[in-house]
Symmetry: D2
Subunit: 340 residues, 4 copies
Amino acid sequence: MIQAGLIGATGYTGEELLYLLLRHPEIEVTALSAMVDKPVSMAELFPRVSGLTSLTCSLMELGDVASCCDIVFLALPHTVSLTIAPFFLARGKKVVDLSADFRLRDTALYREYYGVNHTQESLLEKAVYGLPEFHRDEIRTATLVANPGCYPTSVILGAGPLVKGGLLGDGPLIASAITGITGAGRKAALPFHFSEASGDLRAYRLLNHQHTPEIVQELGRLGDAPVRLIFVPHIAPLDRGILTTLYVPVAPSVKERELIALYESCYKNEPFVRVLGGDRLPRVKEVCSTNICEIAVRLDAANHVAVVVAAIDNLIKGASGQALQNCNIMCGLNETTGLM
Amino acid sequence: MIQAGLIGATGYTGEELLYLLLRHPEIEVTALSAMVDKPVSMAELFPRVSGLTSLTCSLMELGDVASCCDIVFLALPHTVSLTIAPFFLARGKKVVDLSADFRLRDTALYREYYGVNHTQESLLEKAVYGLPEFHRDEIRTATLVANPGCYPTSVILGAGPLVKGGLLGDGPLIASAITGITGAGRKAALPFHFSEASGDLRAYRLLNHQHTPEIVQELGRLGDAPVRLIFVPHIAPLDRGILTTLYVPVAPSVKERELIALYESCYKNEPFVRVLGGDRLPRVKEVCSTNICEIAVRLDAANHVAVVVAAIDNLIKGASGQALQNCNIMCGLNETTGLM
Amino acid sequence: MIQAGLIGATGYTGEELLYLLLRHPEIEVTALSAMVDKPVSMAELFPRVSGLTSLTCSLMELGDVASCCDIVFLALPHTVSLTIAPFFLARGKKVVDLSADFRLRDTALYREYYGVNHTQESLLEKAVYGLPEFHRDEIRTATLVANPGCYPTSVILGAGPLVKGGLLGDGPLIASAITGITGAGRKAALPFHFSEASGDLRAYRLLNHQHTPEIVQELGRLGDAPVRLIFVPHIAPLDRGILTTLYVPVAPSVKERELIALYESCYKNEPFVRVLGGDRLPRVKEVCSTNICEIAVRLDAANHVAVVVAAIDNLIKGASGQALQNCNIMCGLNETTGLM
Amino acid sequence: MIQAGLIGATGYTGEELLYLLLRHPEIEVTALSAMVDKPVSMAELFPRVSGLTSLTCSLMELGDVASCCDIVFLALPHTVSLTIAPFFLARGKKVVDLSADFRLRDTALYREYYGVNHTQESLLEKAVYGLPEFHRDEIRTATLVANPGCYPTSVILGAGPLVKGGLLGDGPLIASAITGITGAGRKAALPFHFSEASGDLRAYRLLNHQHTPEIVQELGRLGDAPVRLIFVPHIAPLDRGILTTLYVPVAPSVKERELIALYESCYKNEPFVRVLGGDRLPRVKEVCSTNICEIAVRLDAANHVAVVVAAIDNLIKGASGQALQNCNIMCGLNETTGLM
């Protein structure tokens, strides 16, 4: 059994990850830590794990966590992982960090979008971006995985085949995404009050969302060339899920059937990406509570623009499910264990 | 034009009341006050009043409010009205208080349910309970109206005809009510976060909700005899509206058609109560954004229990609409003006 | 491996049951039948089973189903099971019927509520009511299990301890229940159109819902005495879940702590019933997508009425999960396999 | 009093229009017709008009409608208006057609997108496209107004200032829109069943929605030059409202403050368009149940793309409210009467 610790167990991401870990046949959860005043029973905090565990969560010493874990998941607010990840790495533990702290290679961008100086530049070089569909081999040997953001997961899976295939045409890639409200985290705030959010649709952080540089960096690496991106996230009244529609300029010679063949080929061995055929289009409801990303691609032939639609569950493929997928790979387990 | 002031203008109730007042042809809003750091434009705070007003809301001196108003609406948290209402009454102003501060005649119950001593016992004697369907004549001459709570409005309108008609049988009256989430007020709190409330149903304050003594008092007055009540409120994932189902023991001799005739007769001249005939049952959606209460009554003849279903919009007939209805009556205006 | 067939695989109940069966480690789904024009891939019909199965569903001959199954689940409209169940029973197959066809022992009531004559009276005697918490031993040896209705499951689990414990006082038991909209089945109908149902609350089939006689029969058997029931179901805008609040007259001598102790004792070994302690009250969100029933009990001591709140997922503990639980028991498997 | 008839009174659009007309101080509704088996009371069909009207709706002879109306609103399925509008126009009546039948000037496109031949080409020349913000003068003297589609209203109001101002750069205009579910009309269909639509997000009619040629035509006329458009509509789980995000290539020299100034100037006298300043972005909730369109514009200076967000209520500014606005203009009334 792999022994796993989870730090930051009381948010939506932590809850979802705990729920996945507890049902994983080859992983044992041996440490749960969070900023709590006193130990809390996880079964009381999150009743759906009742019957699965009698574990409590407390504010643990890092050393106590390290002493009983092979791998540690950090489900912490951005900037906190910076100070904690090194501790575990120094003691030979594997780390999957669900925050943004080890995603951006350019520390100036990190400072610009997250408001603090990056204090662990040396670790950035060791960190592997944990999108298995494009970086599986690196993840296999990684000790520090930077788990992708929810929007970046949907955008990179959606645009990746075009970028990697060298099919980008002129002009910026446009990503228009819609998210459910768990994306905002498990804390009370008026904009996410039911009476404010129900019956509402709105755009937010228009043109300056913190996931923008992460997407630009990763698509740039995939295509080995700079990518221009316009990213606008929207909020809709549902609990969980992201639907991202991409408008990608492509070379004029490309045919729609070539695009579809490219996507099918790119993802044909991927257990968690489902390229839809025929008339079907992705639906959030179909991927909710799963680690699946549904994708469909169409061509606007007159304008030479590929339209790609991708759907994920923001808490699973967009966070905790992908973290577990990375853990499976890092630990030499079957990649899909605990995720079907 | 009647000149009206509104104190506590920034909550859901205040917003709704302002929206109603601004479209009222014979009322002019002359003062808006709330606990704000600096003056805020109402059009910015509540965009749906844009175009209707350029008023700002600020933390006003009470004297400044009094100097420009004939009537003052208090949409304040419970216990705050206690200290403010006397000021306006002393200056000859009419007051409609939307809080619970002048509803309970028994100050011991007030202390038990609201946690503070009642400091204005003398005013309690002058306060009129503002349910026009049963107290219209008193409201006409009142200077202080205690606007009913949302649940009590639905329960008293639902059970009133039976109680007043002397048809109560043995055993407690059971009120099982379901509310939308604006009932919790316009403030961030985790239980009302969209991701917590959507897809959820729950009971709360089971057997000890603060509206219980208000209902018991008012039904007792209507029937001139003590009433026993079991009241359980529930929360469902919708924005606004209350659906209350009452289970009322009745005398064994009563027939269903007599019950229906009683309700039709009791409410036949009421502009805001709609007794449904045939197979129709009340729906929250049909009363939403209106001052209407829909009611249907059925008899379980084997058990001698009348089942009454009542639907209202908690923010309108359950709060702001009823406040305006009371204002219309107090000021000698047509009762329905601004409410159709 | 147990070989299982599912007839009526294309509704919400069938979908949920298929999803559970496909992940069950000791059951193999060998036949899927429904009224379809041509064979349909289940992965296409219900994308969330993609990756779990390549099975298709077609309109199969009953003999073909029988030839490859040990147990058959009937997720069919009421009255259809009557003609199909005997076929499988005659061939020595076990049957779990999710319809109401074998629940009511009084065929006159069946005719009254379901509109057809019961043609299989002899099978009624063999049928076992599939609520494991109260009939586990009979289910173990049953060949035909009548899987309980969704509302009856919540009401009987909620009131069962009081009834069985002989604590019922005078007067009818009142069950006020709220359901999500999957309860209406997977077929288009205007009342369940999103735009009609969202933002709405309503009661329906007031005093004449078809689950009433089922509850009365089963509670009567548990207590060995007739039970009087007033049952009013309500609809709220959520996908799935039932919250039932029961108002049960109890003997005047009963104390609240005795009630709580009774419930805890009654369910202490039940894997799927969670009696909540302290201040906690059941929430639909906590039982959603699980086979759990959450229950809390309180006493209105002044009125001698126990108030019991019970929450289930209508599609799981209220239908498919309970069907699988029954199957596990009938087949000698661990009762919780595939349900945690 | 203007006498108005409404044909097709039983859909969501008809209901909303009736509700607006009944409260209009200078319009009297004199005829209500729809494909109903027998006359139905509007108060029974749509309870929120109870108290406002005792009118019934029946399948009326066109002549009877004509004999009592000055203006007729056609809230009919596409292709039906073709055969009905000429009747009223021949009798000197004004017509506001809410269908698409008189919007497209190119009958080949009409046949392509609506599947039938256009039989009234001569009327097409008389028809005026009813978007008052850009065609007020023509509407004033029109006898036949083609009321715009819901998506086109949001897209044209959003992009109009850029197009008319000659600021379009190279490349297609991208319109990514999200709608609530009333957009699908008031008829039962499985995709709009609450249990299918709640918790879901999806794109539909990707690249071939029937509103595409309408937008292209109208923007082309505004700018006097062909416009290229990529339009993708999405569905989210809310009752009503459209949020449209436009990605519009602009000339490289344009500054963001110029864009904002252009929008403010373009709409400064428009009673129903609200250009948001500062950090504010449009919210569907703020325009719901109003005839308002909220708009914000930003510039992605690096990519020379203007991002415009527009929000409307699809049933009001996107249909019935705009129809009434057109009626007010055609009849010489104040344009905002009955719409504030």
